[in-house]
Symmetry: C2
């Protein structure tokens, strides 16, 4: 159904896989080719290539060209989108000191005359 995913969704869903997060962690130590990325996993080169494509589509990494290989490079700033959303909402929700008040409000809405 999701043909054209929004930016945020594609970043979050790229991060929603342990293999892909491991790839990102590996890339923090330096650029790496698909073959180098494949080594630590019990997966085929093709499978890793697909994960890399997902990360590339989410703009979390980019590729360069060095001879016949195409090393992957982290695009760290891209995490900002995800970090931004989460932080905005963490603050928003943390600021609700009024949890009890709000709960009472919920009950009130459900039982306007307060007959409970």
């Amino acid at each position: 159904m999701t043909v054209v995913q929004d930016e945020l969704s594609s970043v979050f869903s790229a991060l929603a896989d342990p293999t892909r997060r491991a790839i990102l962690e590996r890339l923090a130590d330096g650029d790496a080719t698909v073959n180098e990325l494949t080594e630590p996993f019990a997966l085929t080169q093709q499978a890793i290539s697909k994960h890399v494509q997902v990360l590339e589509r989410a703009d979390l990494i980019s590729r360069t060209r060095v001879g016949s290989s195409r090393p992957c490079v982290l695009e760290a700033e891209r995490l900002d989108a995800a970090a931004g959303w989460i932080e905005r909402h963490r603050e928003l929700w943390a600021d609700r000191h009024d949890r009890l008040e709000q709960h009472l409000e919920t009950l009130r809405r459900r039982d306007p005359k307060g007959t409970r």
Copy 2:
């Protein structure tokens, strides 16, 4: 629906859908029942119910019981897992002042004799 996804993956993949993010945003304004959550969307109650189940599985929300309805309640702290991972990696990657050096290292590895 099995698969036993790890914690982080289930949070990220719960966040990887605009409808679910909208539900979370709505819940920031106060607890709400499935029917209340359904209203703003052009989706059936059942579809929203399933999205709510995904959020519940990721522990981003919980349900209480008020009479015959089961309002959804935000579990804001649960965002900490996701926020933690992202922040840890943002710092890690941002700290790499040595991007040029690292790029040269990549080239060196690929052409050890420096004959290029």
